[in-house]
Symmetry: D2
Subunit: 359 residues, 4 copies
């Protein structure tokens, strides 16, 4: 069950970085939604490596194929299986990994757990697994947009110490997509790009923060006490490769405020309930309050670096390992569609759950 996410809008991803391919089964998608590969491919293109000079140069077309669940361009209500073939198989590039565990990768822990691993790349722990999520997320985003009027966005908020100015209420998709960093603060984006290029040249890598945003979520989504909206978002984000932290609304920063300062006063405006501040991040008691939902996700610097590092081999002998081949100095621009996808998956699931219990 560990490869499934969601209860009513439920996805199951499958596939390793090397092997027959990667994909996803979406179970519980509402019927009669217009859906073809053209709805999915754009997000996969935003996720794929090789899209710009600041991300992994792995070259894959990542063409998605819908194998089931649609008929004459519409969803049937039955499981939608989507598949992307693996093309860039270069087992020889990984022969050293057969013998050595890469530091801060999942090589060692997979062996500790399963007693076996596909050493040709990251296997199941590869970011390639997120193809299934992004494909499913594209469907979730479409449902949210067309049936519930909800808009999902994500963007790069911070790279190392470089912080962008992002207004969750107003930032536009076109602004985010206007540069290869997916940072809507253009001046800052340039600095970020320069930093990443420097890191690439140094054979090193950087981490940062992606901000996720959901606008137009009606009050009432989220299920206390364990399936609170922020709890499900936190799980969703921490399930992404390389993520190390999650905060909603004021987050860790809010702890320097007092209760008087931090509370979000309710006001009535033209018959609608609003809050005049939004430290809550659009969620109170685990349930959306109608305000914009926003949160931040920390991603560690990519673990593969082009320098020798201490590690052990499969016989548990000390050795060193130097990354070689394709160097990915910064995962953040590609993490943006991943964060969008996971956000959409959480919200679509809760939209259906709200219909079920309280509809």
């Amino acid at each position: 069950m560990a490869s499934s996410f969601g209860h009513l809008f439920r996805i199951t991803t499958w596939g390793e970085s090397h092997g027959g391919g990667v994909g996803v089964v979406v179970d519980g998608c509402p019927p009669r939604l217009k859906l073809t590969e053209a709805d999915i491919q754009p997000d996969l293109d935003r996720r794929r490596p090789g899209q710009s000079k600041i991300v992994s140069p792995r070259q894959e077309a990542d063409r998605v194929q819908i194998l089931s669940g649609t008929f004459e361009g519409k969803t049937l209500g039955t499981p939608i299986c989507m598949w992307v073939k693996n093309e860039d198989a270069r087992p020889e590039a990984y022969s050293e990994m057969k013998e050595k565990f890469r530091p801060s990768h999942a090589d060692f822990t997979y062996v500790a757990k399963y007693g076996i691993r596909n050493w040709q790349g990251g296997g199941r722990a590869s970011a390639r697994e997120t193809i299934g999520r992004v494909a499913a997320g594209a469907i979730a985003k479409k449902i949210l947009r067309e049936r519930f009027g909800v808009e999902i966005l994500a963007c790069v908020k911070q790279v190392q110490r470089i912080v962008a100015n992002v207004d969750p209420e107003r930032v536009k998709f076109s602004e985010i997509e206007s540069n290869i960093m997916r940072c809507p603060d253009q001046a800052v984006a340039d600095k970020m790009i320069r930093l990443v290029e420097k890191m690439r040249r140094a054979g090193d890598s950087v981490g940062g923060i992606v901000e996720g945003i959901a606008r137009g979520v009606p009050a009432g989504w989220g299920e206390p006490v364990f399936d609170k909206l922020e709890a499900d978002l936190a799980r969703a984000m921490l399930s992404l490769p390389a993520s190390k932290g999650f905060e909603i609304g004021s987050g860790f920063g809010g702890i320097v405020m007092t209760g008087r300062e931090h509370n979000d006063p309710f006001r009535a405006r033209r018959g609608k309930v609003v809050t005049t501040s939004n430290y809550s991040g659009g969620i109170q008691g685990g349930i959306s309050n109608g305000q914009t939902i926003y949160f931040k996700v920390a991603f560690k610097p990519v673990a593969t670096v082009m320098h020798p590092q201490n590690t052990i081999d499969v016989q548990l002998q000390n050795t060193t390992l130097k990354g070689r081949g394709r160097h990915d100095p910064c995962v953040l621009p590609r993490a943006v569609p991943m964060v969008e996808a996971m956000t959409a998956l959480v919200l679509a699931d809760h939209a259906l759950r709200q219909q079920a219990q309280c509809g």
Copy 2:
């Protein structure tokens, strides 16, 4: 299903702050574990209000009663239902809440979702719901300790801007419990207590950080890709009342490092695998690596303050509301056993899952 947590060691909490009581059903507990109320009550005493001058003065004995699942002092393998009666019912204290939504509480969102709420206190959104979690967590901690050699700890790491020095590898339970703040850094604890007392006098409140620690977890627990250990921990922590953020290992702080700096080198020491740094926080690729697991949880300042604040009433008219009665200036000391409990629930579930698939 939103009141259930865990797959194999599965709990279902029930109850509101006012009504017949609060409790939990634990399903999937291994049989033949010695268990009586005496194993549960100490953690409930650490959780209950009124335990010290710096927490909520609500007075409840919170005596737990095991209603099922044990026989002659041992678990049967059948569901364990535990119940704590509500005693401190003062509906008159809440009459104003019948008409007004408290800012940054869940009053408004519960009505938005369910169209009804128990206005006599926080209802299901009350911290009182965590009694069931802490009771179940006491069982989980016992299993982890006795059957797997795993120790679970939590402590207060930060109150507002006051930060304690805590070594996850060495901190002891007795140090944590040596003061009412549950901060093992004694000098800093005193400062924290003074700050909270000042806040109480000011009718205001503070937030902070609780650090959670699990020592002795063997390599191999955690289930990629969605039930990664850090993902389940994140969900667990964000499901606690007032929590706003979660970070594992280096967390948000790790993003200022480069990949070379951040990677944890593996070394072999006397036939055992260790890492010479632990920015990963004991988890890699969603699976424990045998090192100490540590993480931080941000809690916002308590929303109830003794000052008039803008809000709306149930007719959506603007008004003000001033907290009255029991004032809780700082939830952190009571959040410590909650964080322990949720950590233990996550790990006990994954211990059983590991036995199932790879045992």
Copy 3:
């Protein structure tokens, strides 16, 4: 998770026949449903032992208490915990069971599984566990009746070789409840009662068939391919103590027909779709078709008989055991409310699921 049933209208039962009591948590109940103990107690009275001369003489009032989830007589949308205390504890009556495994009971298998059992009665395998189901089922029936116009019935169809004439389209609750056998065919009911009385005198027991009926279910409930309506009903019924078989519509009898004979022709009648026969039992492809749902459940003869029988003791030595004390010659009248409850639980869950995906 084995003590939980349902996905959206989800129950978790707890408790053994001897101990603090038995109960249930209902999670996912829609909010704002009028609900008090008076809605639950009548079904528990129909389930309880001692209600007539043909069932177990165990004397318990089985008074239900709602501990959570309601406020001012309405459901909150939060978990509803219901509890019935155990009163009739006579451990001395069971001392022989401490040493010996009763044939065709669960004594041996519980020890084989858990390595421990509560030998004071049937423990978790006791029919007493069904109190939680019947209590939850009373809520499910109320939702189905008030919000979906669905009527749930069950009755005794057969005792040993005595078969009643029951028309699933027309049988009334008052007819079923008009005799202690809960068989609406009055003449046949008298024969059944006489047979059971004879069995009681002989210290023996009989089995039979309970028929379950759901009228007014709209077309469209049920979720292919694994949560087909008949699959969920089958699981629900086979989870009842002493049940040995389930058949929907024509069932095992339908196999002597050919396809031409067995097919149910569709006809349009005043804009509504009907079938002119109903061998399908109201379900096709796992989804309700708008016709009456009916099915049969086989219950074996009660295993406790007042005669010495071969068995083994806990040291695995051959011995004999004679039932003593309370003799229950026929479980069928008490199984009727159990079958109703499980039917209602399945349908309420699917009603909510249908609202979620296709609503």
Copy 4:
């Protein structure tokens, strides 16, 4: 979630009879199991149409392809996706079905539920969906055989009124496979085959009973109270297309016996616990008791017959419809591997669950 089955050994099937193909994702398979397509294909060959003169003549090779989850011929512990392409697409053969609902098929109910259906064949309700189950079941059978010493069998017990003599303790796979009916009673098998050939000539169809058998299951598998072994088996069997009934052990026949007759006496034989009769069918209180598990599944006569029958069209107008094209007079020989697969899936899941809680 309705396309998933199992908790720890969890499968998700996908695909319609016409479209890109059908398949399954197996999540939770233990690692390091030797597995290639050669382990799967034989069961698919036993399931596929066109294998003999008494089943559907649809011609498909049904070649399985493993897309993920294995490496160098062994399972990785990660999700195993298996895919079979659809080849026999003849949409023109189904054009009449676009306008008319076939009686006792799922055409009408799918439209009632989803408001859309793939009318090119049975869509998701087609027996073709069971390819995924049979493929996954082949893995489950292998695990049960190699790691737990459990043997799974199924055979045709009855066709219409022709009943075979089958001894669940002794029947062999080779006997079952020795004729195209998969009935180990050779003389009876010939009669069955003649009946089916007669039905084919008459353009009609027959139903019957498949018996499922599990030998070598240790005492202790099965999870009261809702996931009892017989409950999960019942659900599994009633989720198969065309199944109408399930009975375990004595089943419906047991109700003519008294308790004294029906009880299975325990005896100790060379330190092992046996029962001298097995009316329980190897399960007591929902848990295996170490005896042979056996049960029967009723399958209705195939709904497609080559005669005009009353029905309605999509405008709800009365009309008639005559089956044409591929006529399947008897599903039973092909149902045998389906029953095996579902049995294995239930047992493999419970084997892992037992390891988890009580291992």
